[in-house]
Amino acid sequence: MNFSVPGSQRVLIADDEPAIVLSLEFLMRRCGIVTDIARDGEEALAKAASFAPDLILLDVMLPRRSGLEVCRALRGQEATRNIKIILLTAKGGHTESERGLSMGADLYVVKPFSTQELVSQVKRILESATGATDGGAR
């Protein structure tokens, strides 16, 4: 069920590095976004269903299930198909980014990232999401 507070957006942060999680939390919080955390692939899938985020910041290297698998699984399920996904990875290169996008991710960001860049991308993607799904007045 959707418990969204009217007007505020939700982002799930899936990464096993506590420091990175902390920084992402801070950045999202600054934008008035509500966050939740998952520390491995299984937890990420579970929370995608329960927390029902608008967007997931998904690390590719997660224990138990890799970020790419999570991505594919999310896209395969009706309930989670429309969640926006930003993949975060420390591996660069075209092949990696193509793989990620082909798995259904909306964006592929290489670590280390620029915080300003990331925040503006998150905002942009969230805006396009509400624009698409929201037919009329909120």
Binding site: E17, A19, I20, S23, L24, K91, P112, Q116
Partner: protein, 913 residues
């Protein structure tokens, strides 16, 4: 009647007039209506090349060598006509890089090397001293002669009257004060001295007029025209040879060529020539007219040299009157007092022109390239607190001017009588010729390196001292003649005038040959054999490719500093008002209303650096700006840029200054670690990609929190502290990681350095356990040992084995539970090897993981809790180490019942105890 006071008054009046011209020109320059921006003044200022040497000495030389005086003027003429584009390139480079002197030019080209700048300065000062003493000699001699009017008496030897009765001494003092008044009234950003240039141009005119006047007088009044003089000369056999070029007296082809080449170099590299031709140049286009105006001047001033010489010889005969003085003594002999006075003033003009420009140029070099770098090195911290430094700079220059002139005077005392004027001057020419390889190589050959320049310059200078300066001192009796005749310590091969047995050359050619051989040889050789630093490469490209560079080169600063800190830094050297002016003008050129609204970016930093370079030289400016920006100007890697952002974020927090120091150390280590990383180019691909992956993880949080701290100045203190703490921890983690990666890579590549020794493992284990005692205690884990005696020794690297032991012990601690944990270390000897076991009763390792943990970057642990703090490399490194000495490292364990890590090393034959 020509009494002493008339001469002195005339001199002072003339000098005063010069001063007025200079003052007026400076005033006009300040108003923006420059008096000197015409090519005619530029060309005339180049005439400062003609000094008292030209005025007096050429005639002297012509009297003994006939046409042999010419090469010294042929050289500059050829230089201008054929190779003016070299000058143009030097002008362009100097304008763009705000070069303030010859030393600055060389230093800047070779990676802004302060050492090179200092060396050039020293060579220039020592090399020019003879030349300055020449001027002093000329003025004092001409003064003494004129004083004796109407009698013609050659003055006493230098120093015969004691210093305080010596006219030359007072002339030196007077010239020093005059130069100080002339050139050190204010600090100009670009080291331009418009007043000086105007005065010099005027002086060139005066000396030309004086010389031509006496020339016309001698040729047409004393004799009946040039034809008359020459026919009379040809009639006397000993004079006839003077008229023929390449006659025996005029010198050989060799010496003509050498002298011409020497003077070609001199017209470029004499500090005063560099100053007026390059630094003081107002507009590059002036060069186009100067190309033919200057040779014209040379022609004009040399036209009457031979006639005057011949006239003097004909009139006085040889021997009684020094030929150097003919220009003066001929009018005196004919009782032409006003002409004689004019000639004296002309000679004075020539000499003072040289001394002023040369001394100003030298004092600038001494200040910017010798004193300032030394001061910066010694008192860096206190310097930063100084208020207005421009007064300090000016004082340093004034002291330098006095020093140089006093040294010039002492050279005159010591060696002034050894040679005729011309020879003294040529010694200086040979000195500055040493700059040629480094400078010309510098602007045309990108591979010329700093070390090459240093080697070449030093070698050339040493040979110069040995083959020219030494003999001059010996001739005056200050060092024993035996050295000249038989070589030092009677080594014949090292005779200063015939090095390595090369005979048959005159002294100048000989000296030039050897010094240039050493100089060019070492410059090219060392440059080719060595490598350049990144800074050198960049400067080399800037210089050699100066004509293909367009647009705004933003320079190579990666960090930034605030506008106000940059402005106040510049203000400390140029004065706050001037700095504000400069910054405001710059702001407007960037399309911004005022300096405060300027964005503090790399371009601004470069702008500040350039302004400072104008005052204190490029090398010192770089140091000063670097200290404000707090980082190296050549970050080349993304990693560097991110690490630098982290440094600045921490710098903003006052309470955590200590952490800042730690971070800086890590940054430096990271930088050098990164350097080393790049050199290990045979790493396997997956290793590389894994490593970079692992590195990026802590880097991500470092960057993220740096940016967060930077973008959110209103963070509350608690969060701020927390984030800074994370920054530090992650940086430490990154450092550990990199250290271990490098360690492992070195070990795998076989590039590690081993200190092999015979060890007693029992000792080692005991040391290891006592080292970790504290750790055991604070984690409340019990440690027991079982170490028998009389174990055979092993051969290994002690430090490395210690590394292995510490790693195993700390692993054991990590996986034990506090309070009930127990670790036991035991030693055994079995099957020809010595074995060490570290057993713990912790959580143990599942069998599927037991091989995994030795792999790189693999860690196992309770994944529901925090990620393990290690890097995943420790066991891999241990395995490498043990394996290197022919041993084994393995583990026995079952999940839930602890683990035993063991390694064994081959035992050596037991030595008798």
């Amino acid at each position: 009647m020509l009494q002493g006071w008339i001469i002195v008054c005339a001199s002072f009046a003339y000098i005063g007039f010069l001063f007025a011209i200079a003052y007026f020109a400076d005033k006009r320059a300040d108003q923006g209506r420059s008096l000197i921006s015409t090519p005619y003044i530029y060309a005339l200022s180049l005439g400062v090349y003609a000094t008292a040497w030209t005025f007096y000495g050429s005639v002297g030389r012509a009297a003994s060598d006939g046409v042999g005086f010419l090469p010294i003027y042929l050289g500059p003429t050829l230089m201008m006509i054929l190779w003016w584009f070299v000058v143009r390139k030097m002008i362009r480079i100097s304008k763009i890089n705000r070069i303030t002197s010859l030393a600055d030019f060389v230093a800047s080209r070779y990676g802004k090397s302060a050492l090179l700048g200092g060396l050039v300065t020293v060579i220039a000062v020592v090399g020019i001293l003879p030349y300055i003493s020449l001027q002093l000699k000329a003025i004092s001699t001409s003064f003494s002669i004129l004083l004796q009017y109407p009698e013609i008496v050659m003055p006493a030897k230098a120093g015969a009257t004691g210093i305080f009765n010596d006219t030359a001494f007072y002339i030196a003092i007077f010239l020093a004060s005059f130069t100080i008044a002339f050139g050190t009234r204010q600090l100009d950003v670009a080291e331009r001295h418009e007043g000086m240039v105007a005065a010099i141009a005027f002086e060139s005119l005066v000396k030309l007029i004086a010389f031509i006047s006496v020339g016309i007088y001698v040729t047409f009044a004393m004799f009946d025209g040039p034809a008359d003089i020459f026919s009379r000369a040809l009639a006397q056999p000993d004079l006839a040879s003077l008229v023929a070029p390449f006659g025996a007296a005029a010198g050989t082809y060799m010496s003509w060529i050498w002298l011409t080449m020497l003077s070609m170099l001199a017209i470029l590299f004499l500090p005063r020539q560099f100053q007026v031709a390059v630094i003081e140049n107002v507009d590059e286009k002036h060069l186009n007219k100067a190309v033919w105006l200057f040779p014209l001047y040379m022609l004009a001033i040399n036209l009457f040299v031979l006639p005057i010489a011949l006239g003097g010889l004909l009139h006085f005969g040889t021997g009684s009157v020094d030929a150097d003085t003919f220009v003066l003594t001929l009018p005196m002999a004919e009782k032409q007092e006003w002409l004689a006075l004019l000639v004296f003033i002309g000679g004075l003009s020539a000499a003072t022109g040289m001394v002023i420009v040369e001394t100003i140029a030298l004092s600038t070099m001494v200040c910017n390239d010798l004193v300032m770098p030394l001061l910066l090195r010694v008192t860096r911290l206190r310097f930063m607190q100084h208020g207005n430094l421009s007064m300090l700079l000016l004082d340093i220059r004034r002291a330098a001017i006095v020093l140089i002139l006093m040294l010039g005077y002492f050279y005159y005392l010591v060696a002034g009588e050894a040679y005729a004027l011309v020879s003294i001057g040529l010694i200086s020419f040979a000195a500055v010729a040493q700059f040629a390889p480094a400078v010309i190589g510098g602007i045309y050959w990108k591979d010329g390196s700093r070390l090459g320049a240093l080697a070449g310059l030093s070698a050339g200078f040493v040979v110069w001292v040995y083959t020219l300066l030494l003999p001059a001192f010996a001739k005056s009796g200050w060092i024993p003649q035996e050295i000249i005749e038989h070589g030092p310590f009677a080594i014949e091969l090292l005779k200063p005038l015939q090095l390595f047995g090369l005979t048959g050359l005159d002294q100048m050619t000989h000296a030039m040959l050897w010094s240039m051989l050493a100089n060019i040889g070492l410059y090219i050789g060392v440059s080719l054999l060595g490598r350049q630093s990144a800074a050198e490469r960049i400067q080399a490209t800037l210089f050699v490719d100066v004509f293909s560079q367009t647009g705004d080169r933003t320079g190579f600063w990666r960090g930034t500093a605030s506008v106000s800190s940059l402005q106040s830094l510049v203000g400390r050297f140029l004065g706050p008002a001037r700095a504000a002016d400069l910054f405001d003008t710059y702001a407007k050129s960037r399309g911004v209303a005022s300096a405060d609204a300027l964005e503090s970016d790399a371009r601004l930093v470069r702008f500040a650096e350039i302004q400072l370079a104008g005052a204190i030289g490029a090398a010192s400016a770089r140091v000063m700006v670097a200290s404000v920006v707090e980082e190296e100007p050549l970050g080349v890697d993304e990693v560097m840029a991110i690490i630098d952002e982290a440094s600045q974020a921490i710098a903003q927090s006052n309470e955590l200054k200590i952490k800042q120091a730690e971070l800086e150390v890590a940054t430096r280590e990271l930088r050098s670690a990164n350097e080393r990383l790049r050199e290990l180019d045979h790493l396997k691909d997956d290793f590389i990609s894994t490593v970079t992956h692992e590195l990026r993880t802590p880097l991500t949080s470092i960057r993220a929190f740096s940016e967060i701290l930077h973008d959110n100045p209103d963070l509350d203190a608690e969060e701020r502290t927390r984030f800074l703490g994370i920054l530090v921890k992650e940086s430490e983690r990154l450092t550990r990681l990199i250290n271990q990666v490098l360690d492992l890579a070195k070990l795998e590549a076989g590039a590690a350095e081993w200190r092999i020794a015979t060890l007693d493992l029992r000792d080692l284990v005991e040391d290891a356990t006592s080292a970790t005692e504290q750790l055991f205690r604070s984690n409340r884990i019990e440690l027991t040992t079982d170490l028998p005696d009389n174990l055979p020794p092993v051969v290994a690297d002690r430090d490395r084995l210690m590394q292995v032991m510490l790693n195993l012990l700390s692993n054991a601690i990590k996986f034990c539970e506090s309070g009930i944990g127990r670790v036991q270390v035991s030693l055994r000897c079995e099957d020809g090897s010595v074995r060490v076991d570290v057993r713990d009763n912790g959580i143990g390792i599942a069998s599927e993981n037991q091989q995994l943990i030795f792999e790189k970057f693999r860690q196992v642990g309770d994944t529901l809790t925090d990620k393990p703090q290690g890097t995943g490399l420790g066991l891999a490194i241990c395995r490498e180490i043990v394996g290197h000495f022919g041993g084994r490292l393995w583990v026995e364990s079952a999940l839930g019942s602890g683990a035993t890590f063991s390694f064994s090393l081959p035992a050596q034959a037991a030595s008798a105890t």
